[in-house]
């Protein structure tokens, strides 16, 4: 059986749901879950339930792998050789996309970034091309298949395996090209937009920055993250880190609720692969209604508070 490594992302000492989806993409392979930072024994039950034959705590002799993406890329390259992996998969989160690109460059191997489906055995992957307008199927010709998976694109399914724990310290050092001077914390209590299972977005109709509070209250009831359209960001109602769409973030939640968003093609480029899209808009002719699943014609300031109350 071919061996596939999965780089596991954790939050507050637990496995992120998005990583379980990545493991599901490799089912049928012998899965080696690679963990950095968190204690593997605390993750054992969850990772074993979703198919990890082995859970390996990865470290490097040359320093803290969680503090340097270049060092972690070197350590992952060493892990690929150590465990004789024929594929290594990760999450296409902000950190995951950056890390895998560094790894691919360091190993000079092809990489398919932000896949929505993949076949590890055949080394093929499906991903967005042309800003969400088309899917491309790509075939990779390499000994090791590297890919990142779009968060929430693949639904996690349990497939119990042994989940033996082990440690591997790679004998690598940091190339020392980057010095991280400072980490500026955003609102850490908020759910990350690209990884959120549910997103509620406010467009131009939100009218003022303080009105996002209404969406945050609603989001809190659903375990959702709050997004913004480009029009709302450009009007100064929301920071760029909240922008969904071209020049912002690409998201793929199971539920996307667009409030007062007109539905420009550039917005769809960032959320088209969401499972269910709901639009609430005062204008019954808004383009978004032609391209979503459910629509409510109404004033967001009337509809959203009722939604929050009833959830």
């Amino acid at each position: 059986m071919a061996r596939t490594g999965i780089l596991i992302e954790t939050e507050n000492g637990t496995v992120k749901d998005t990583s379980l989806g990545v493991m599901t993409a490799a089912q049928g392979q012998e899965i080696i879950a690679l963990v950095t930072g968190a204690d593997p024994s605390a993750l054992k039950d969850k990772l074993a339930e979703y198919g990890a034959a082995k859970i390996v705590k990865l470290s490097a002799s040359g320093g803290d792998v969680t503090a340097s993406p270049d060092l972690l890329a070197e350590a992952l390259a060493a892990a690929v050789r150590e465990f004789d992996l024929t594929a290594l998969l990760g999450t296409a989160s902000a950190a995951g996309k950056d890390l895998f690109a560094r790894l691919a460059a360091a190993m000079d191997l092809p990489l398919v970034s932000d896949c929505v489906a993949l076949d590890v055995e055949a080394k093929t992957a499906k991903k967005s091309h042309f800003s969400g307008k088309t899917f491309a199927t790509l075939k990779v010709d390499a000994n090791v298949f590297l890919a990142t998976v779009r968060p929430n694109a693949i639904e996690a399914k349990p497939a119990p395996a042994a989940g033996e724990t082990a440690e591997f310290s790679a004998d690598v050092t940091d190339p020392g090209k980057l010095v991280i001077k400072e980490v500026k914390k955003g609102d850490s209590d908020k759910i990350d937009l690209t990884e959120a299972p549910i997103i509620i977005t406010g467009g131009r109709a939100i009218k003022a920055a303080e009105n996002y509070k209404m969406l945050e209250d609603c989001a809190a009831k659903m375990g959702a993250a709050v997004g913004a359209s480009r029009a709302a960001v450009d009007a100064g109602y929301a920071p760029h880190s909240m922008q969904v769409g071209q020049t912002g973030k690409t998201v793929s939640p199971r539920l996307y609720i667009a409030c007062g968003v007109s539905g420009a093609v550039q917005h769809f480029a960032g959320m088209k692969t969401s499972k269910v899209i709901v639009a609430i808009n005062e204008d019954k002719d808004a383009p978004i209604f032609a391209k979503c699943d459910y629509g409510i014609v109404g004033d967001i300031f009337e509809v959203v508070p009722v939604l929050t109350e009833k959830l």
Partner: protein, 256 residues
């Protein structure tokens, strides 16, 4: 200071993509533009050259028609361009990075390189890392703030969840630009006229010793992302609409 900006010639995001055959698309009828993220790189390079002196060179790997895209970049204030021609819109990221490196080496290596954070056509998000890897220089992506001082660059980038990192590195380095870095300028008519006279060196992949057939990633199929056929509209009073929406999302779609 010499600054290279890697620019990709891509279909306008508003263009309709008509698929031809298994993996082709009809590119003759649609508008091509400077890859939107690359505009932030061009603007930053031109601003740096205006402030500190220096030359901004646009480097593009693309079809011969990419000449027009380089002219747009030159109209934003870059000095000259280099076009490495290929016969396909989709060259894999490894070959593109090799071509960019070879073209820069031939022209004289720059002190600073900009790219966009990714391209809006193939969305591979990796060419800048490979270019930096081949050149053996530092790379950071999704940069929304940059200070270049002497031989150092300090970049601010978003790392997820709204968190930002401030990273220092030595020049030369590769900077992947994104929104927030600046406001790209709209070229005025005289700038567009001036750009027509600027020099663009053209060479093929083969001229640089790169074999286009050596690709490791093959595009096997292109298919449209299924379009939704229009919303099912939920009618009634606000109370009724919301009650029905919650029911549908919980019971029919099982997403709540």
């Amino acid at each position: 200071m010499k600054i290279c900006v890697c620019v990709k010639h891509v279909p306008d995001t508003a263009a309709t993509i008509k698929i031809e055959g298994d993996a082709g698309f009809k590119d003759s009828e649609i508008k091509f533009v400077v890859n939107p993220y690359d505009e932030y790189g061009i603007e930053e390079a031109v601003k740096l050259a205006e402030k500190n002196g220096g030359e901004v060179v646009i480097v593009t790997v693309g079809k011969p028609e990419a000449d027009a895209t380089i002219r747009s970049a030159l109209a934003m204030g870059a000095e000259r361009g280099i076009l490495v021609t290929t016969d396909s819109q989709f060259l894999d990221a490894t070959l593109t990075a090799k071509a960019l490196k070879a073209a820069m080496e031939k022209d004289g290596l720059p002190d600073l390189i900009f790219t966009g954070k990714g391209s809006v056509d193939s969305e591979t998000f990796q060419t800048q890392y490979r270019l930096a890897g081949y050149l053996g220089v530092p790379v950071v992506n999704e940069v929304s703030k940059l200070t270049v001082d002497g031989g150092n660059a300090v970049a601010e980038l978003e790392v997820g969840g709204g968190d930002k990192q401030v990273i220092e590195m030595k020049l030369p380095c590769v900077i992947g630009a994104t929104k927030g870095l600046n406001e790209p300028r709209y070229p005025k008519f005289p700038d567009i006229m001036k750009a027509k006279k600027k020099k663009i060196d053209q060479m093929s992949l083969a001229d640089l010793g790169i074999d286009a057939a050596a690709r490791a990633v093959t595009l096997e199929k292109l298919e449209p992302v299924p379009e939704r056929s229009g919303a099912k509209m939920i009618e009634g009073s606000v109370e009724e609409q919301v009650t029905e929406l919650i029911r549908v999302l919980k019971e029919d779609e099982k997403v709540l």
